[in-house]
Symmetry: C2
Subunit: 181 residues, 2 copies
């Protein structure tokens, strides 16, 4: 079964995904008059399910908007015990190491997964479980914050697929993991 784990993240030039206190306002500082989704709609069409950490899940809940995902969401958390009643059909709490989680989700028939959230992405990268990186760079050097990357046990080669510039300011590069065959 062909499966794919995709990272889709906005980041600063210095590779932070949020400010020190979780600030995300700098992600929206570039005017986007045509309301481009910058690859988000395409991503949503490509994936079968979403895996995110509890921090991302709580962040989405804090936005106080309608639940934004129309794909099943798996929230990877040891601490979270319950999910809001109204989301029980859409959100599943899941525990375990990354490989066993993936096996269970694949067995449910979900193959193309959107992997979201700083810790989750770092843990997946540490085990070489990311197949595609779609990184969107906002033209700011944030100086401090929550980093996208952590130290890895070894280097991972990627193949550059495409780079697009949105609104003249935002650079999005797509990379495919290049594994030895």
């Amino acid at each position: 079964m062909k499966t794919k784990n995709i990272v889709f993240l906005g980041k600063s030039i210095d590779n932070y995904i949020a400010g020190k206190n979780g600030e995300l306002d700098w992600l929206d500082t570039i005017p986007n008059p045509d309301q481009l989704s910058m690859g988000y709609h395409e991503l949503m069409k490509e994936i079968d399910a979403i895996i995110m950490g509890s921090t991302s899940f709580k962040t989405v809940l804090s936005f106080d908007i309608e639940w934004p995902y129309n794909k099943p969401v798996f929230v990877l958390s040891r601490s979270l015990k319950t999910i809001p009643k109204n989301l029980e059909d859409q959100v599943t709490l899941i525990q375990g190491d990354e490989k066993s989680i993936l096996e269970r989700i694949h067995n449910k028939g979900f193959k193309n997964l959107y992997i979201d959230g700083g810790n989750v992405v770092q843990n997946f990268l540490k085990q070489d479980l990311i197949d595609e990186l779609r990184l969107t760079t906002i033209p700011i050097v944030l100086g401090d914050g929550i980093p996208l990357f952590d130290v890895l046990p070894r280097s991972l080669k990627f193949e550059h697929v495409k780079t697009e510039v949105f609104c003249n300011q935002i650079v999005q590069s797509t990379y495919l993991r290049k594994r030895q065959t």
Copy 2:
């Protein structure tokens, strides 16, 4: 007097400029059959002088090639006391804080400067002395190494000028510092 401090660096996707032990081999893993300079020749035409740290200087010396620069080089170092005799006409040792160094170099008539080397770039960024970032991303997540960026006292906004893709694999983005006026 209009002056400009330009950073021109190759980096991994995770923003390392060298491996843990200074390895640079991964910078040259993408075949470049047409020997594109990827902006280096243009940079050399634009600048009047180069400022680098002692690590970069020693790295260049270690390559055991002909001295590669045809512009004056200022080596910022507290430890280095002498430079090789054959380079005395081209290389000047310089000490002091970044602002006073810049003043002295500007007073010699050098306005457009190529700022090179990890520590030097980080120290210049900490004082908001970088006007232009030209960053070239090699499609590898190195996992560990010498980082391009350090924590800064505050965020720095930039304006994206252009992004080019070389050899289908190497993404180079140019950013201009956007200062409040």
